[in-house]
Symmetry: C2
Subunit: 211 residues, 2 copies
């Protein structure tokens, strides 16, 4: 791991704990075992560092989501895969995500456009899946697409506020719960009975408690 990465990793941890403005360049520098010179050799400014962190994460997530929808799956399957893959990102990128949602307000104007665009693309992916789901009668037709997308995003994204790696539930379990909740909201009664999607519901899991 070279110096640049070490600086990023250190900053991530520090930013997550104390916020962008709660951390000085001197702290970053000393915790990553380098110097002002080392830092400014790799980054034009503290603001550029913030941008690099943002871009790194959003690019990764966006690529993953696009991969998922370029299949011939049913919308229900797509939704399940998107959610699972996104939730799993928390295990690796939680600090990135925290910084992404917590500190984006401090991104300098010159950087915001690049990030905004990718953010929009990510939302668009979800939009398309839901629209497709409604068209194909798998999802309830009375759902307003925009609000539904924002609800799903909110539910999943909020995890950054409380998810702990060594918590009671594994990331896989949490992802399964989200899938269950979301699909229960989205699917029509008809689709819920479809045997192909049975495995997505908690009540049919082997671990579920049955009376």
């Amino acid at each position: 791991m070279d110096l640049k990465d070490r600086i990023i990793e250190t900053s991530l941890t520090l930013f997550e704990q104390h916020g962008f403005h709660g951390v000085t360049v001197n702290q970053i520098v000393s915790e990553s075992g380098t110097s002002k010179g080392g830092f400014y050799h790799h980054f034009q400014s503290k603001d550029e560092l913030l941008f690099v962190i943002h871009d790194y994460f959003i690019s990764y997530v966006l690529t993953k989501a696009k991969e998922t929808i370029e299949t011939n799956d049913h919308p229900t399957e797509k939704m399940q895969k998107i959610i699972k893959s996104f939730v799993k990102v928390f295990d690796i990128y939680k600090p990135h995500i925290s910084v992404f949602y917590q500190e984006s307000i401090y991104l300098k104007p010159q950087y915001v456009d690049a990030i905004k665009e990718k953010r929009q693309s990510y939302k668009a992916v979800l939009f398309d899946v839901i629209r497709e789901g409604i068209e194909k009668r798998e999802f309830r037709s009375e759902l307003p697409v925009e609000i539904t997308v924002m609800s799903i995003l909110g539910m999943v994204n909020w995890s950054y506020k409380w998810y702990k790696k060594d918590g009671e539930k594994t990331i896989e379990e949490i992802a399964d719960i989200y899938v269950d909740l979301i699909l229960h909201s989205l699917l029509t009664e008809q689709t819920k009975k479809d045997a192909r999607f049975k495995e997505y519901f908690l009540e049919n899991h082997l671990t579920a408690s049955k009376k």
Copy 2:
């Protein structure tokens, strides 16, 4: 409106736009038409101002939620009322909420405990409703209480990132959609058929599009 309130209102707007550290006391002072002296006459420090904003909002929401559950309603009704009342808070207190979730990381240690306690109480209210719902067989028994609470909180709280007062949908409409989504995730098939709860679902609203 006296000076103290004017300072709070101005700060709220500024903090929401630029973040706590993106706003200087001088800015606050000049935008609220006062002076350094005026500011420090009412607040011990910039940090205290942040605390006052936090406390004001969380106290309000907590009181509202406690009022709601001190009824003899069914859990389903309670859940619906809590969600509706909380979502409606966005219309009045959106800046408070934004600052609450965005800047709490910068609260000084001396203030965090007071806020944390009220935050926990709020979660506890939701916990209780869900537990009661499961006990009374209105909510699905396979739901893990903690994650479900966090999902609901996430879904609703996330609104602060995108809700605009003059947006396409009114706050009432958004609240109704949340209620529909959440109840579809929570309720048992049996309970969904209960005529008393019919009005909570979008498909039974007068405005819903029917083929």
